[in-house]
Subunit: 151 residues, 2 copies
DNA sequence: ATCCTTGCAAATTGTTTGCAGCTAG
DNA sequence: CTAGCTGCAAACAATTTGCAAGGAT
């Protein structure tokens, strides 16, 4: 279930104004670019993309915006590709997914698995916790010599 | 199933000499401290601990040693506590475990779950991969107001 | 007028590297 | 002697921060 930019940005604006913060043109632009991207952007690329629309936007603004979105849980941060932070939009209206990384070529595949999620809740419960969030990354080698994307 | 330091260090020495590398006093010391620690050490603390035994050991040596151990898969690296790298010994003789982090106080709890591991292999297989490795971190909030360790 | 936000540059943090000297084989 | 290893300091990369100026309420 995907969410339109307007909906997502509405969430953002609500959160911002609740904290007497503003949805400035720069922030809206960054939000739009991020929402349009298919995920796993790093800061550098995001900054580049934003600059294609507005040369004046600075690096720090992108970082600060991402931090905001992170705090508001409107993006999900990953570091599994190459250690540097990568971002994808997230919200309760987007269904949760996890990632599998190909050890051969680095391609990232997304997947969902209800069963595992259920077991994770169970495990947490057994340890005395309510499961709030989780990160799971699988690392695989492609079967049959055929690789996911490249080669 | 835990492994003695001697066994683990044997593995290390074997790997090293296979690559005409040496188990120097510094490296042995770092190995010993690391093996004695109960896990999730960061480089800084490890360096401190090592220095309590030998003031002369430098920061870079610790980093280089950890990289070695990582390459040889004799340590497992985590970054989930605060983003900086933390290490714990690992080997085929140590059973695999995953982590749950308390959102309240940051305490890390370890657990194992056969069922989830099986499902992970299944998911990978369905996507056309052989599962090589995985990382899973659960984030939880303690039930009943009682918290894991602190407070 | 106040307070949030911005871009820039400088600062910080975590980690890696170059190098001259040292050490084991 | 050769090759690996060390400590130190400098280099690096990713991210954060201080600050003076700009803009919204």
């Amino acid at each position: 279930m995907t969410q339109t930019f307007e909906q997502w940005c509405g969430d953002l604006e609500a959160r911002l104004s609740r904290n007497q913060q503003r949805l400035t043109p720069q922030r809206r632009l960054i939000a739009r670019v991020l929402h349009g991207h298919d995920g796993h952007v790093n800061v550098d690329d995001l900054h580049q993309l934003v600059r294609r629309k507005d040369k004046s936007v600075g690096y720090a603004t992108v970082y600060r915006m991402l931090k905001l979105l992170e705090d508001y849980e409107l993006v999900q941060t990953n570091t599994f590709v190459d250690g540097t932070a990568r971002y994808e939009i997230a919200s309760k209206h987007h269904s949760h997914h996890d990632h599998l990384v190909c050890k051969e070529c680095g391609t990232v595949v997304e997947f969902e698995n209800e069963e595992i999620e259920r077991l994770q809740e169970l495990v947490a419960a057994q340890l005395g916790f309510d499961l709030v969030d989780h990160k799971m990354v699988l690392y695989g080698r492609p079967k049959l010599g055929t690789c996911c994307a490249k080669h």
